[in-house]
Symmetry: C2
Subunit: 382 residues, 2 copies
Amino acid sequence: MSKSSAFSFKTTAKSTQCHARTGVFSTPHGDITTPIFMPVGTCASVKGLSPEEVREAGAQIILSNTYHLFLRPGADIVEKAGGIHKFMNWNGPVLTDSGGFQVFSLDKLRKLSDDGVTFKSHIDGSKFTFTPELNMQVQHKIGADIIMQLDVCAQIDAKKEEVARAAELSLMWLKCCYAEHERLNIKNDHALFPIIQGGFHADLRLQSTKDAIPYAKHGIAAGGIALGETAEELSKMLAVMIPHLPDTIPHYLMGAGSPDYILAAVEHGFDMFDCVYQTRMARTGTAMVDEGRLNMHNARFREDFTPIEKGCTCEACKKYTRAYISHLVRCNEMFGLRLLAIHNINWTLRFVERIRQSIRNDKFLEFKSDFLLQYRPECDKK
Amino acid sequence: MSKSSAFSFKTTAKSTQCHARTGVFSTPHGDITTPIFMPVGTCASVKGLSPEEVREAGAQIILSNTYHLFLRPGADIVEKAGGIHKFMNWNGPVLTDSGGFQVFSLDKLRKLSDDGVTFKSHIDGSKFTFTPELNMQVQHKIGADIIMQLDVCAQIDAKKEEVARAAELSLMWLKCCYAEHERLNIKNDHALFPIIQGGFHADLRLQSTKDAIPYAKHGIAAGGIALGETAEELSKMLAVMIPHLPDTIPHYLMGAGSPDYILAAVEHGFDMFDCVYQTRMARTGTAMVDEGRLNMHNARFREDFTPIEKGCTCEACKKYTRAYISHLVRCNEMFGLRLLAIHNINWTLRFVERIRQSIRNDKFLEFKSDFLLQYRPECDKK
């Protein structure tokens, strides 16, 4: 039975230079213009910020995490609250990751079988099992617009056979997730994204791409990359996938948030990105600017009464000076971290808007090379 | 030479039942309706909150601290920023404490002489000396509307001779502060408040009251009480001072922030109060309500989809549930502490507004006894 869908994707501009494109992804909670960066609210809160601040920083969609919400407060409570949108008072689109990444990165005592994964809570050590079916039930209770399949993430240094096994298991689970999602998705108001695995092995990644595509109705994601490798290494893997990805759906590169990763991803036809990079940088007292990063602990900011970045329209730059923000950072005042989080998220969302504009003008590669020429990620290390 | 002043105090209502009164205290940065609670921004930031949030919570004046600002960022930097109002983007009145309390409570290695106090920074152990004159110079550079004399605070358990010596030294320093303040106050846009000492000894407190009054042009403060004693013990000392305090100036009880202290202070004719209680409670996950305190860690809030307090108009209560806030608190999310800080400050400012209303209706004592009947400070301990 065919159901009419609340999701659609339309390409609005295409680069003639590369795979870069702009588009509009429609969801039940509003449209998203792509390429887009999605701020991360792991525990149903973008660290330190109110939903209004996240919205004012330009966010169109936020990400949350099934592993964390499953443990606290529990999916039943989010469901009773009326779903994650109401629970956290964010009325825009939400995407939940399945928690596969957390299970495989946080817990060394996990037990993996064909049926699912048993893991211990990082909070109190209590044991839980995610089957693909349970994971879908949990995500449907949480109620995000876009939900991710339960996948198996191999470590960046895993042997090839481990990566192959992870991809194989991810495909098995994808099939289970798909069936359970179809059963649960009675109002057709949730979209399931499959996740391509295959690590850094072109042959495995190609196979995983082909395997995932039949289950990609509304979008598709790439996982197991953007883990700290160089942008060049990342690009190689993106180039393996992109020729095979349907251009009628959005492509989501999981965990990409630094400017060089986002540029590589856009060049290779990816549309959606998320990362905790922006808020984590803020918590270390770091501001993102076009030239790279500013470590606000640096003594040169003590008497600098200019904004973090000239021309920036965020609350932090409109109302406060580097001198004040660096003072707050030195005193470990929460408000300092909050202003930096606002700035970093705002900066990144302006960055993707500049990327979209460059694609509309068919000058994306010029924008990319100009940007990278001035960008020094380590320009002001602590 | 007489200079016209930017400060004035006008009583607008007087209780016939006790010393309670309402008034308007005019300052160069705006009027303050009294009795008023002043949120504390120790390091030029009310912990976790933006100035807009503090204003929206109903704050009319905030407090900051000379000891902390002297060490970080330094008075010269605040002065170069254009003063504390510009530095922290708060355009209302500001009061700075002299830092006497911090010097005597934080530092066990201080050295006291008639001329001043030498102390070690709690940050890096470096040595500084506050003379009354230097303290005035520092406070004038910071630029608050209301500045406090440098005083000597005896500990709550000090022997009577120590308390007497502290009061004596405080008076000596008051005279030096007054002279230096008069010299510096060329635009007459800063008000110096003397501080009454004398601990819990009625005779010493009476003497200190009489000693301080000649130097109280625009306001007077009581220090060395509201340190954790019962409201009854506090009241005894307030009763010693109030018959002697000029009713033409505001009376400030330093460090009072809990509802029982505020009620005792108002009853005995005090008009201004400050405390870190509200933001400190927030950081421990505690919400202030009419019934006492709610520990948001308590399991009963997990599925409680009502606001912290029904009828409360603060951002936290308008937009979020106890379930969500308790979830944030359990996850140690900054946004949870922020919402509790907003609520607690808003609650306290609504509390003093209710007090003002009861005075206007000449029913303050009824309000006080009704409130204390339901109020259980320990109602929901962790």
